[in-house]
Amino acid sequence: MSLLFNTEWGFLEGIVRGFKNGMLKHSDYLALTQCDSIEDVMMSIQGTDYGNIFANDRKFSVDLIEKRLGEKLLHEFNYIRAHSTEPLSSFLEYIRYPYMIDNVSLLISGLNNNRPMKRLLEMCNPLGYFDQLAAIEVAVSSVELFNAVLIDTPLAKFIPPEFHEDTFGEIDVEIVRGLLYRSYLESYYAFCQGLGGTTSDVMCKLLSFEADRRVITITVNALPTNLTPNDRLKMYPTCGQLPDLALRTLSEIVDYERVRDMCNFAGYGDMFENIERDTDGLIGLEDRFLMLEAKNNVYSYLQQFHFGVFYSYVKLKQLEVRNIIWICECIAQRQTDKVNAYIPIPLE
């Protein structure tokens, strides 16, 4: 398998491991947290593997930094994608689908508020661009929106069978997003299982963690809302380690303590413990999941000859971008006492 893997994808695995080795180290983060201004942050970033990404920019802002960092990742991803063959090409397309779902949700929200399409397209994540995205604007009814958004796009295969064009307009965008994401995650899980070997071992573990994380996060966020147990259950991906009984129980829980007990039982109890670093109450449940996700993604590099390294690289790089933007926001808002609340990536 290793020989067969290397003939097709060995070069790309080497490339992505090189990209991963260029990610920010602890010393780079220390340098960033000690910056006094956005300009200093940009100078520090240019001294890392990101290089001279701000060469042609004169105005300094957090949005600009985020845009340039995203373009760097997009460039690297496109390079890998352009040189890949099947089934790696399909695997890499699966990595893009969540960003497509996010872009479609953003466009629907923006169009509902009568914002111009050109401005909305600028706000979309470039990893989630696809040709039919701009066609959403021409839809004048929910039926046309349903067809334009979901039927004629790469997201068509993730539409749940119970979706109808007549009722599409009545469903909240967040619920549509949750349903699409569930379908996507289960499809990705089945695809990785079909690939077999080390890819299946590594990716199924990562995706089942993602599924459990979605279940717990949706449950906690839905507690103060009027979302029915049935609606919650529809959004829960079933490819996680939480059994069906746990999913049904979580969909009916209305109390935070019971969610905690359920997660203790399922092995996620540590997510709800307080951590010493959190002095301002900023580090919440989602942050703890991010920490565990970072650890799992770093561990995927301990094995060779599998596609999980590509998935893990994109996830770790996204986390790195979020960390840099958090540091920039703290500096821009003059709240540097909170600058260390980023999620460290245990690369070393």
């Binding site: 953003l106 929200s109 508020n113 958090w326």
Partner: protein, 157 residues
């Protein structure tokens, strides 16, 4: 002459009391402004935290905020005159989607994360503090005006 002297003394004591009031009001007003600044900063950093946790600036985005071309809705929070005409109060309305009183939090998500909910609490506190600051400012203006009048009348004597 004795009466004049007594009048001046009384005016002086009144002026002292008013100056004391003025200093207390300045202190309260400054503290209110500091609290307002703190609450606003906490709200802003919590919004940044929400974007950090959800991934990217589009999770809490301008695209989700209604524009002048969006469907009309009623404000949940209004500034009204208090019983004492010189003061303002905040009137809050319950969420009632059928009658146009929408929950602004739902513009961003029907499943908002905890950080976004905390941000809402902070910005709500900001509104209360703005009203308090306004009332203190008005009281201070009144006291300064009375001090000025009293000083002029004492000088005329």
């Amino acid at each position: 002459m004795v009466a004049e002297k007594l009048d001046k003394e009384a005016a002086g004591q009144l002026l002292d009391a008013m100056y004391l009031d003025m200093f207390h009001l300045i202190e309260e007003h400054t503290q209110c402004r500091v609290n307002l600044e703190r609450a606003n900063a906490s709200g802003a950093i919590l919004l940044a935290r929400t974007r950090f946790q959800a991934g990217g600036c589009n999770s809490v985005s301008k695209a989700q905020i209604p524009t002048e071309n969006s469907a009309e809705f009623n404000a949940l929070c209004r500034v009204i005159k208090a019983k004492d005409e010189n003061e303002v109060n905040i009137e809050r309305h319950e969420v009632d989607k059928a009658n146009g009183y929408v929950e602004p939090l739902h513009w961003f998500s029907v499943l908002p994360p905890m950080s976004l909910r905390h941000a809402v609490t902070k910005f709500r506190d900001c509104i209360e503090l703005v009203a308090e600051s306004t009332n203190l400012q008005r009281q201070l203006t009144d006291v300064l005006s009375w001090i000025s009048k009293l000083r002029q009348s004492v000088l005329k004597q």
